[in-house]
Amino acid sequence: MCPLCGWDVLVSYLICGTLHSVDQYLNIKLTDISVTDPEKYPHMLSVKNCFIRGSVVRYVQLPADEVDTQLLQDAARKEALQQKQ
């Protein structure tokens, strides 16, 4: 599984959850959902796990200090070279 699984996720400042899995379409599965403002958005109160379609995700923000940018750059470079071959 992806190394980000198990991380805490905040969706649109609305839904908090734990990242369960991600697939090739970047669909996201979250477990243990909680709503940040239940007064404003009561829809999701009875939902524990959810699936978010990848196409509706505009961007994913990762905390900068959790990402080893050097390692990421090297890995991306290596993969680009591999794909060329």
């Binding site: 609305l14 697939d23 009875s46 796990n49 699936f51 978010i52 379609r53 591999q82």
Partner: protein, 154 residues
Amino acid sequence: SLFITPNKNAQLTIVIASNIQSFCCLFELTEKHLVLLRDGRTLIGFLRSIDQFANLVLQQTVERIHVGKRYGDIPRGIFIVRGENVVLLGEIDLEKESDTSLQQVCIEDILEEQRLQQQSRQEAEKTKHLALKERGLVMPRSDIMDEYGVQHQY
């Protein structure tokens, strides 16, 4: 699960992906589900089928309208939802559902409340749009929810 990372054998991964009918566990097909659609609607029903595009078939579906702390349900029967309209699909925990402080009202009442809510939203949107226009900014409007709960109305 089909979490396939791009690799040298790109051809092989495509074959694997197309053989997989559904990416859910079996237990998901017997629980009540909540679906959020791109147009802002909330559907609740028994999920009978799902595919790789997130096309859904829901049985005994109900469209739930939330206004403040009240909600109303409109029975809709069987729904086939095209995957591109799906924002979120959640499994309803029956215990949590009985816990909520929300009050159910009849359909006519909730539709009236929704109408009033949308009216006030439109008025606020109009004044905002006018204020921005005076400052030279014109925001493009779309039929898709950019921000959950904020729907742009023509």
